[in-house]
């Protein structure tokens, strides 16, 4: 019988193959960006909570890890929809 760890591992493999399929589809735009954000968040949550066992850890340590994932997800969205803002903020002169 399949255990909890194996189910998490198989889910991670499944989400990875979904990402590979998206990569090969060659799409671009909001649907792809949001799909990528979803995949990053779901896969990172599975690794953080189930591989690293952070669901049993100190709330602050868990918050730091999820803060990192949230920051990356936010930056992916901003870099797609508001790249002009990033350009302005990072242009000298």
């Amino acid at each position: 019988m399949m255990g909890h760890t194996e189910k998490i591992w198989l889910s991670l493999l499944g989400f990875t193959l979904a990402g590979a399929w998206l990569a090969e589809s060659g799409q671009a735009g909001w649907p792809l960006t949001l799909a990528v954000v979803f995949l990053i968040c779901v896969k990172a949550t599975l690794v953080i909570d189930h591989y690293m066992e952070m669901r049993f850890a100190n709330t602050w340590i868990r918050a730091v890890l999820f803060g990192f994932v949230g920051m990356v997800a936010l930056l992916v969205i901003v870099s797609h929809g508001w790249s002009e803002l990033i350009r302005k903020l990072t242009t000298l002169g």
């Binding site: 760890t5 194996e6 998490i8 591992w9 991670l12 493999l13 990875t16 193959l17 990402g19 590979a20 998206l22 990569a23 090969e24 060659g26 799409q27 671009a28 735009g29 792809l32 960006t33 990528v36 995949l39 990053i40 896969k43 990172a44 690794v47 953080i48 189930h50 591989y51 690293m52 730091v64 890890l65 990192f68 994932v69 920051m71 990356v72 930056l75 992916v76 901003v78 870099s79 790249s83 002009e84 990033i86 350009r87 990072t90």
Partner: protein, 168 residues
């Protein structure tokens, strides 16, 4: 490591904002199979480490040792795959000077590879300690710490994979 990579990722976002065309075309020339293969290897290696920690909690150090060894073998698949991926890249005219997308790709992926190499050395150390019976169900902090480091490299790779092979 997270703060370090958040800074490294800012390079990606800034370069992407200033060169949207390069980041739109760039992923199409990379070998998705290599990025996918590395992801599958790391996630499976991580699963072995979860099993190793679970085994040591029941004082099954022989089992834990076998799982760590499995994790190391699969983890070593990463640098091997990377070696063939870079060879493939070079054969297809992709090096660090091909364009901004590929410069950032080499910069981030090779940085990650360095961290994975440290992780592998850490795993070899805890494998030796486990083999020598240094860990038990009441003291396995060293093994747990190495496993958490290894899983952190997993999380970082999941992001890097999305940046260079999937996102356009």
């Amino acid at each position: 490591m997270l703060v370090e990579f958040l800074l490294l990722f800012s390079v990606y976002f800034i370069a992407r904002a200033h060169n949207p065309e390069a980041f739109l075309i760039g992923p199409g020339r990379l070998a998705t199979v290599a990025g996918t293969g590395i992801t599958l290897l790391l996630l499976t290696s991580g699963c072995c480490l979860v099993k190793a920690v679970a085994a040591i909690r029941t004082d099954a150090s022989g089992k834990a040792f076998a799982w760590i060894l499995g994790g190391i073998v699969l983890g070593c698949g990463y640098p091997i795959t990377k070696f063939f991926e870079i060879r493939w890249n070079i054969a297809h005219g992709i090096d660090g000077e091909t364009g901004i997308f590929y410069s950032v790709y080499y910069y981030l992926t090779l940085n990650h590879l360095v961290h994975v190499s440290w992780g592998l050395m850490g795993l070899m150390w805890v494998a030796a300690r486990t083999g020598l019976g240094s860990y038990s169900s009441t003291d396995y902090r060293g093994l747990e710490a190495a496993a958490v480091y290894w899983h952190t490299t997993d999380v970082l790779w999941l992001v890097i994979f999305s940046f260079f092979y999937v996102l356009r």
